[in-house]
Structure formats: C-alpha cells, structure tokens
C-alpha cells in the first residue's frame, strides 16, 4: 500500500471468540487506583 501503513494485526474480533480466560491482572492493581485503563495490560496467553 502506498498511502497507508497499518501498525498492528487487527485481532480484537478474534479475541472476542477465544478470550475471556480471566487470568490477566486486574487493571486497578497495577498503578492507577483512580481510573480505568485496560489497554496497557498484558494478555496472560500472549508469548
């Protein structure tokens, strides 16, 4: 493609089918305690 660079694999839809194991960290425990930020969390299934 000449006019666009795609930065990631768009896998959110797939993760809706296979995700939800719940082993990941609770977002509020990491640092925030006053907001809700989930997108910086790691998936426990990720390599």
């Amino acid at each position: 493609m000449k006019h666009v660079q795609t930065l990631n694999n768009a896998n959110l839809k797939n993760s809706a089918k296979h995700g939800g194991c719940g082993e990941c960290q609770t977002s509020c425990q990491s640092a925030c305690k006053t907001s809700c930020t989930v997108a910086n969390q790691k998936c426990e299934q990720a390599n």
């Binding site: 795609t6 296979h18 082993e23 990941c24 425990q29 305690k33 006053t34 907001s35 910086n40 998936c43």
Partner: protein, 457 residues
C-alpha cells in the same frame, strides 16, 4: 467507527471495532472525511469525493487512495462492524474473585490534602487489620476463585507499612495456602515511603511483583499536598528511599505514582522531574475530587491539561529517540497483544472479580467504595458476598453505558471507573465525563507515541 487525528507529525486513523491503527498520508486522511458509514465500496472513487479533493490532489492519488481504503475494508481493518453488542447483551460472566485490595491500615502518617481515603480513616476511624482477618481474606479468595490460578493481593491503606508485620504474616500464609490449593499469588504494595527501610525493601523485593511508590513530582508540588501531621513535607525523606528501591528492582516492576491537581495543572514538569530523578516507571494521574475543593480539576482545566499531555508526549518521544526514554503509565498501550475483547468490555472487575477488604474484614466493591455502607458486600468471616451488589457490577460493561456508545476510546478504558461514575453521577453506568476527556486525550497521545516508535524502528 473510525477516529482520526494528527499528532507528532503523523496522520493517525483508529478503526474502533477491529483495533487496527493506521498511519495514512494526507490524501487518504482528507478522503476519509467524505466517507460515511456504512461504507459501500465502489469500483472507482465516487464523483463527489473526486470533486471535493481535486484542487489538492491528483486524479491518480485520489483513485489509489480510494482503492486502498476499499482494500482495508475488505481485510476487516477499516469501518469494521460492531460485533460485540451481542456478546454484551447475552452477558453471563459467571465471574470469580481473583483480586483483593487489603486495607491493612486505615491509618496514615501523612495528611495528603486530596486523600480520597479521608487521610487514612476512610470515614470510619483509624484501625489496623489483624493477621487473623488477613488470613481469612486469603481463605475467602481461595474459596471464591474457582479454577482461576493467578490471584492478586494488593496491600493498601492508609499506609500499609504502618502494619508491616501483619503484611508479612498474611503474605507467608498466602504462599503456604497457594501451594496447597494450586494458586499463584502475586503481591503488590502501595506506600508513601515514610517508613521504608532496608529490611522492608528486602522483603518487598523478595515477595512483591509490583510496588507503587507515592510521590507527586517536584519538591514544591509534592510538599504542598503530601505532608505529615505537623505540616512538614515528605519529599526529602522519600526520594532517596524510592531511588534506592527502584534501582534494587532494576528499574522495573514498580511505579512512582503521583496525583496532579488544580495546584499543578502544569504537571508535565512534574513527570519530567520524576524521570530526571532516574525513575523509569512513572504514573501521574488527575485528582478525582468534588468541584467544591479548591484543588479539584474541572471543565475549566481541560484545555490546559490536554496541552500538558501534548507537551509531555513531545518530551517523551524526544527522550525515547535519544535512548533515555522512560515509561509513563497512561501512555503505555499494547497494540499487538493487549487484552482480549472480553476484558476490554468488562473493565477492572470491581464488585465481582476485584474486591476491597477493610481492617475489620468488611468487603466492598473496590477501595474507592470503602466506607460507603450502601455498598458493603459482606465480611470475610462469612465467606460469601451480597449477590445483588455483585450482579449489579458484573452486568455493567461498555454496552450498558450509553455515553460510551459513540466514543472511540471505549475499548481502551472499558467505560471508565465505576467508583468515579457513582460518586459524580450516582450510577456506575454513567461515566464521569471529566475523566473521559482526559482519557481520550491520553489515548491519542499513547497511540501516536506507539506509532512513532514502530515507524522509527
């Protein structure tokens, strides 16, 4: 749904429902203004788009860009449909408890001006958790975590180091019980650092996967709001201790964590100050307070706060490029292997997966609800929790929050903090809008930074 914006000299396009992030040139960026959803690809670029762009771009550029937009749509990376509404409608989470915030001390040796915990008392008097209550909390989470293996315990307060012998006793008990019940306990502790010493640091480093160190920035910023009972500031005492523990953890698995208020809306300088002190893991967050407080952030501060996030973004990228980068918690976003859609829909898990326990063993949906007896869910000695409150929180997700429906950030913040929503709007499904404004800005910055990093590799 897409969201497009310019930052760090890049034209960024987010496709909300697939999670795809694109960097595009000017012709495609401008062309996207002409396209309405649902997008129906045509064999060549429609006349009204050509007409609109003809003064700025060549016919060839316009056709190429249109064809590439069609290709992205066909690959499921642009104008992707919302496939999550059904999941949310049929939401039946059956969640188990996987994290506890243990309030081991409802007491504190500081009197921080903005403390949501009522300077440690949580509106209920000063008290310390006994080891017996702590152990019952461990039993409670083991018994209510189902087949979940990873369990988190956060030692919180007040100031947990005021009850550190009990912290150690609970930790040793959890490790022992974890082995018996095949549970992997991960411990974190949040401290103001006043009582930190070498022995405590050694124990924390051996046992805690994360440590959150409270400091707000420069000495002036910090000491104006984080002071002792006698009014003296905490900065000079805590900085050397925090530097030592950060180094002893190899500058990883910790955060120096601050709060900015109306007193330091120019908070970028405070974040940079923390970086200049050598800290590589930083987090500085907006205070959450009623407008009646003079330190509270309000709508009137939004423009200035957003400009500070921009300023911080520029310096953050500059330092990254120079090989002296650092992490800022709210600028960290994983575009490749971040959390699954289910996690993004449901958020922090407060009230069903994540619970707070007071020194007396009382259970609340999270640390921010502690003291509001309407939300008391039970006691660890009873071994069970109020199912009505649990279900109320469990059912809440991005799709039960009307205000989130057209927001591009919804899968990054999961609809925001339930406690903030309740405290400002008396409904966990009505997000606190000031936090939304900041969240959207931070997300734009975070994605621009990630784009810059990827493209500069």
């Amino acid at each position: 749904m897409i969201h497009k914006y310019k930052q760090l000299g890049l034209n960024i396009v987010m496709d909300v429902y697939s999670g795809a992030v694109h960097v595009v040139d000017d012709v495609m960026f401008d062309m996207l203004d002409y396209i309405l959803e649902p997008f129906m690809p045509e064999s060549e670029c429609p006349e009204y788009i050509k007409e609109g762009l003809k003064d700025e771009y060549s016919a060839e550029e316009i056709e190429e860009s249109y064809a590439e937009i069609c290709a992205l749509v066909s690959a499921g990376q642009l104008f992707t449909d919302d496939c999550y509404a059904d999941i949310a409608t049929n939401w039946n989470k059956q969640s188990v408890v996987k994290a506890l915030c243990l309030h081991v001390a409802h007491d504190c040796n500081l009197r921080c001006k903005y403390c949501f915990a009522d300077t440690g008392e949580f509106h209920g008097g000063r008290s310390l958790m006994s080891a017996e209550v702590g152990k019952k909390a461990i039993d409670f989470v083991i018994n209510n975590s189902g087949s979940r293996r990873n369990i988190e315990i956060d030692y919180f307060g007040g100031e947990p180091l005021m009850n550190f012998e009990v912290v150690k006793e609970i930790t040793e008990y959890a490790k022992e019980q974890g082995k018996l019940h095949d549970k992997n306990f991960r411990f974190t502790i949040t401290t103001n650092g006043i009582l930190l010493n070498d022995d405590i640091m050694d124990y924390i480093n051996e046992n805690m996967s994360n440590v959150v160190l409270s400091i707000d920035g420069t000495k002036e910023t910090n000491d104006k709001v984080r002071y002792r009972v006698d009014g003296s500031g905490s900065y000079d005492t805590i900085v050397p201790k925090f530097q030592k523990i950060a180094e002893s953890r190899n500058q990883d698995n910790y955060y120096v964590r601050g709060t900015f208020t109306a007193y330091n809306v120019d908070f970028a300088k405070d974040v940079i100050h923390l970086a200049d002190l050598g800290f590589k893991q930083t987090s500085v967050e907006p205070v959450v307070a009623p407008e009646s407080e003079d330190y509270a952030l309000t709508e009137a501060h939004v423009e200035k706060v957003c400009a500070e996030y921009d300023k911080l973004t520029d310096e953050y990228v500059k330092r990254y490029d120079e090989g002296r980068g650092f992490n800022f918690f709210h600028f960290m976003v994983d575009l490749d292997q971040g959390p699954c859609a289910i996690k993004r829909l449901s958020g922090c898990g407060a009230g069903h997966e994540y619970l707070a326990v007071t020194p007396e063993g009382d259970i609340y949906p999270c640390h921010q609800f502690v003291g509001n007896t309407d939300f008391k869910m039970g006691n660890v000695s009873e071994g069970k929790i109020d199912e009505n409150i649990k279900n109320h929180f469990e059912r809440s997700n991005v799709y039960t929050k009307e205000k989130c429906s057209n927001c591009f950030a919804k899968f990054y913040c999961s609809g925001g903090c339930s406690a903030n929503a309740y405290n400002f709007n008396k409904d966990i499904n009505k997000p606190y809008e000031l936090a939304c404004e900041f969240q959207k800005k931070r997300l734009e910055c975070a994605i621009a930074i990630e784009a810059h990093k990827k493209l500069s590799k």
